[in-house]
């Protein structure tokens, strides 16, 4: 279809969309006057029911836990998809005389980075890991959780790449470990769900002791699922990053030699 045709189709679509959107807005309460029963009820009862102070985490990992399980598997499937897509090409590129990885590593260095980036990055790796772990572990108490903390943890892997070279990244987060973390995270979530079944209740029921509200060791399965998701997301995103970095090296190699 020509660009002009597509523009016309777009104009038609936007027209239809705006009509439907305005119609939909008509039925919504005005901004700032939310009246949803579900949210208001949760705000009233969730802290007493689940002993978690971050209600977003309580909703994500408990009240809507099954939904998030599906989402965790979307993440898993997407990561596997990225790995499969990018790896097929990698094998094609590998010729037999490249088997000796250690001697090839010289040419696989990242482009020269400035000392300022190296020093700053190196200084940030430790705090980033600590911060990521803190965000994961306190998901049920304060803003944060497994998804956010997991991404912060994966940033640490990216910092390793920035300050050192790709080889260092491979050593810090080898593929076998990130793949394992990704699988353990997704599988662990499902396994925690089965605890509920074992006690004769529904899948993903929060059956563990809830502890004291506000303590680190509280809110039952919400904490456990947070940890599982944190491990899974950190592994998944590190894997995605590693696959893309591997690609840039492949492309660079092909262009220069």
């Amino acid at each position: 279809m020509s660009l002009r045709g597509r523009r016309n189709l777009f104009a038609l679509g936007v027209l239809g969309f705006s009509v439907l959107f305005l119609w939909g807005l008509n039925g919504l309460p005005a901004f700032g006057h939310y009246e949803g029963v579900y949210g208001i009820t949760l705000n009233r009862v969730a802290v007493t029911q689940r002993h978690a102070t971050n209600l977003v985490a309580a909703v994500t990992f408990d009240y809507r836990g099954f939904d998030t399980l599906g989402e965790e598997f979307i993440l898993f499937a997407a990561v596997v998809g990225v790995a499969i897509l990018l790896r097929a090409q990698r094998d094609e590129a590998a010729t037999p005389d490249e088997e000796d990885e250690e001697t090839k590593d010289e040419s696989r260095d990242a482009p020269h980075t400035s000392d300022a980036v190296r020093v700053l990055g190196l200084a940030l790796i430790g705090p980033t890991v600590l911060f990521g772990l803190y965000i994961v572990a306190h998901g049920h108490l304060t803003p944060g959780g497994g998804f956010q903390g997991g991404v912060v943890l994966a940033t640490a892997a990216l910092l390793v790449y920035l300050t050192g070279e790709y080889v260092a990244l491979r050593r810090v987060s080898p593929e076998s470990v990130t793949e394992l973390a990704e699988s353990v995270g997704a599988g662990g979530y499902a396994a925690i769900g089965f605890i509920g079944l074992l006690t004769g209740q529904a899948f993903l029921t929060n059956v563990l002791p809830l502890g004291m509200t506000g303590q680190l060791n509280s809110s039952g399965t919400i904490l456990l699922i947070n940890l599982a998701v944190g491990v899974g997301v950190a592994g998944g995103f590190s894997l995605i990053l590693a696959e893309f970095l591997e690609q840039t090296l492949l492309v660079r190699e092909r262009e220069h030699g």
Binding site: R7, F31, G36, L75
Partner: protein, 114 residues
């Protein structure tokens, strides 16, 4: 100005979609898709907002105090994560397309290749 957040959501959706429709570069297309996706975050958060209410973190406020809706925030969280991974998947596809076809222009990809 109470309709402003909804207008922003609609604008983000439309402008991102326009980018997708007229895109001449696959990477640009993926970025436009994430603009479209961000319109859903704005819409969800705008729906759950309550004037004068605090965040649904009951550390220093008593249970039952007015707070914004945690459900739409949880949905947004889910949305962000899915958007990030979908972007990664699409970018990986773009890399492969460029290797196979030698171009990032969707208009030059009009024939199916086995």
């Amino acid at each position: 100005m109470s309709f402003l957040p909804f207008a922003v959501a609609a604008w983000l959706f439309a402008v991102g979609l326009y980018g997708i429709v007229t895109s001449r570069h696959l990477i640009h297309l993926v970025v436009c898709l994430s603009v479209v996706q961000s319109s859903t975050y704005v819409l969800l958060l705008a729906i759950g907002y309550r004037t004068g209410a605090s965040a649904p973190i009951f550390v220093e406020i008593p249970p039952g105090a007015p707070a914004v809706d945690p459900v739409v925030q949880a949905l947004t969280l889910t949305d962000v994560v899915v958007a990030a991974t979908v972007s990664a998947l699409l970018l990986a596809m773009a890399v492969q397309v460029h290797k196979k076809a030698g171009t990032f222009d969707p208009d030059e990809l009009d024939t199916l290749q086995g």
